[in-house]
């Protein structure tokens, strides 16, 4: 079934929408969640929660042309929160490390609650990603969106781990400079 047809099912409140979503994207979504929580049972719980949220979000949203990205964003959010809430989950250490890496991108990190709204942040981050080559962009997204390990990224792109680390380090620096130059207050 085409993505827009599945979205139509959601819009018409037809419960077959969830089954169709699960059949078409279930494996990818579960894998994405597992990549973050590193526990299959928890990943399945995240997947089910993601279907529930999707049901609640369509409508008003209508992601006919980007259904997978829409679902992926939901399950990423749920999985990250799951890691934090279940601090005993071993993955939380990794999420903590990634947060530290991300902090290097912030021009002046502070403890003040986030001052930039989602729309402006989206504009900033997408503007920055647009300046990167396709390969660098994909590496950056694999690390900080899909939360892949350095080893997994190196394998995916057939590059050495040191090359991946260097690329990520440069990207973080470039992002910080980009945000400074464009005057974003985070």
């Amino acid at each position: 079934m085409e993505d827009y047809e599945i979205v139509e099912l959601y819009l018409s409140r037809n419960e077959a929408a969830i089954q169709q979503t699960s059949e078409k994207f279930g494996n990818r979504l579960r894998l994405l969640a597992y990549n973050i929580v590193k526990d299959w049972q928890t990943a399945e719980e995240c997947e089910n929660d993601a279907y529930m949220q999707t049901w609640n979000l369509i409508p008003p949203h209508s992601p006919k042309s980007y259904l997978y990205a829409f679902l992926a964003r939901i399950i990423r959010h749920i999985s990250l929160n799951c890691c934090r809430e279940r601090a005993r989950l071993k993955r939380s250490a990794f999420v903590c490390e990634l947060s530290e890496e991300m902090e290097q991108c912030i021009p002046a990190p502070d403890n003040v609650e986030c001052r930039i709204d989602d729309l402006a942040f989206g504009e900033a981050i997408n503007g920055f990603l647009h300046t990167l080559t396709k390969e660098k962009r994909n590496i950056f997204i694999r690390r900080y969106w899909y939360l892949d390990s350095i080893t997994a990224i190196a394998k995916r792109f057939a590059l050495s781990e040191s090359k991946i680390k260097t690329t990520l380090f440069r990207c973080r620096n470039q992002l910080r400079k980009y945000l400074e130059k464009e005057g974003y207050v985070l």
Binding site: A72, E100, K155
Partner: protein, 395 residues
């Protein structure tokens, strides 16, 4: 705003970028598979850590020549951070990585070589280092020497701060046949096949081989074996043996040299994948010989790992207490990690790993119990998380 918020906000990334990054990446070269093997090795490392005898809720774990009784069902993670070390925190072999000798570019393999393996002097050349943080290039003039038995076109030794290190020619050059490789690198002299693994009913077993001369004799009869470019020779289900390939002269540590029953040899010794078709007869002669002239031994992991609480830091040692892993905490041991090695010290000084942190140390040597549990060959230190209901790392 903190890094945690930033990580969350990444969900605002354009869906098209998210989709694009999830598509399979086009493989660039033959290195891909070896990266996968490296990843497998790291899994073996962790699996090997807890792969021993079970006594009720206790697991007997062997590493570095000692055995410890640890709690069962512990889950340990020590994910790597994407650290690019500042110049002053790099070892000299990490700093200076490139040398151009008579127009040929050589890259460091990061491994020292003993003076007894060195050949004649080729000359003195600029060895180049690059600091990614400052984007500054460094140069030092160093002596470059041949390595005994090995063609100077492919591997040379470079003096860095008084010690020689192995440098490998950086470009990908396909050899015409196996004979060229045997000759250029004098593999029969520079590589010993003394340990191999074999898959038996989906479990891997490891063996020690008495004498590898016969194998080299067989390989010498296959000198015309053609180099195979195909990417699909490998099949995990086929029968094979994998020799551990460690060689000071070649600057490689625990790489692999496969012989498959359907007639191929394949290795990652030269960084790029090298595959030759030697024929099923020759391959099976090697496999049979190895099976008949070897004895099963304990599986040796790629490196050993030690996990515990960092309890003290001095100029000489850092002290790690493994009580937290012990089924009987009063039987915890304190291990001493030499702290004068930059590869350890930098994690303390730069990464701010400190007393009270749960850490994992990777090492390649033994634990000298008589000297007070000194861990030999420690080369990395990282924060770890242990989850068993008692310990966890909070955000």
């Amino acid at each position: 705003m903190r890094g945690k918020d930033f990580l969350d906000k990444m969900e605002q990334i354009d869906p098209a970028y998210i989709e694009a990054a999830d598509k399979p990446a086009k493989k660039k070269n033959n290195l891909a598979k070896w990266t996968a093997i490296a990843a497998c090795l790291s899994i073996v490392l962790l699996a090997g850590f807890f792969a021993f005898r079970v006594k009720n809720d206790t697991l007997s774990v062997s590493f570095g020549g000692i055995t410890r009784d640890y709690k069962k069902d512990l889950s340990i993670t020590a994910d790597e951070a994407a650290i690019v070390w500042p110049w002053e925190y790099k070892t000299i072999s990490e700093q200076y990585t490139t040398v151009i000798v008579d127009g040929r570019k050589f890259i460091s393999r990061g491994r020292p070589i003993s003076a007894s393996l060195l050949g004649e002097t080729i000359g003195t050349y600029d060895v180049i280092g690059f600091d990614f943080l400052t984007e500054k290039e460094y140069r030092m003039v160093s002596e470059v020497r041949c390595i005994s038995h090995i063609s100077k076109n492919y591997i040379v030794a470079v003096n860095l701060g008084g010690e020689f290190y192995v440098f490998q020619y950086s470009e990908y050059e396909q050899p015409a046949n196996l004979g060229e490789v045997l000759d250029y690198y004098s593999l029969a002299q520079t590589l010993n096949f003394d340990r191999f693994t074999i898959r038996d009913n989906s479990a891997e077993k490891e063996y020690l081989l008495n004498d590898d001369q016969y194998i080299w004799d067989i390989l010498n009869t296959c000198r015309d074996a053609k180099f195979i470019e195909k990417d699909n020779v490998w099949d995990q289900n086929k029968k094979y043996i994998g020799f551990t390939a460690t060689s000071d002269a070649l600057g490689v540590y625990k790489r692999v040299f496969y012989v498959t029953s359907d007639g191929y040899i394949e290795t990652n010794i030269f960084d790029f994948r090298y595959t030759f078709e030697i024929g099923a007869d020759a391959a099976n002669q090697i496999i049979s010989y190895a099976a008949e002239n070897s004895a099963e031994c304990a599986i040796e992991p790629y490196t050993y790992s030690l996990v515990g609480t960092l309890v003290e830091i001095t100029d000489e040692f850092i002290f790690i207490d493994d009580s937290i892993l012990c089924s009987n905490q009063s039987k915890g041991m304190v291990f001493k990690i030499p702290a004068n090695d930059l590869r350890i010290r930098r994690h303390i000084d730069f990464e701010r790993i400190g007393v009270g942190d749960i850490v994992m140390v990777n090492f390649t040597g033994n634990i000298d119990v008589e000297a007070g549990n000194i861990v030999e060959g420690a080369y990395s230190l990282s924060r770890a998380a242990i989850s068993d209901g008692e310990v966890f790392v909070n955000e």
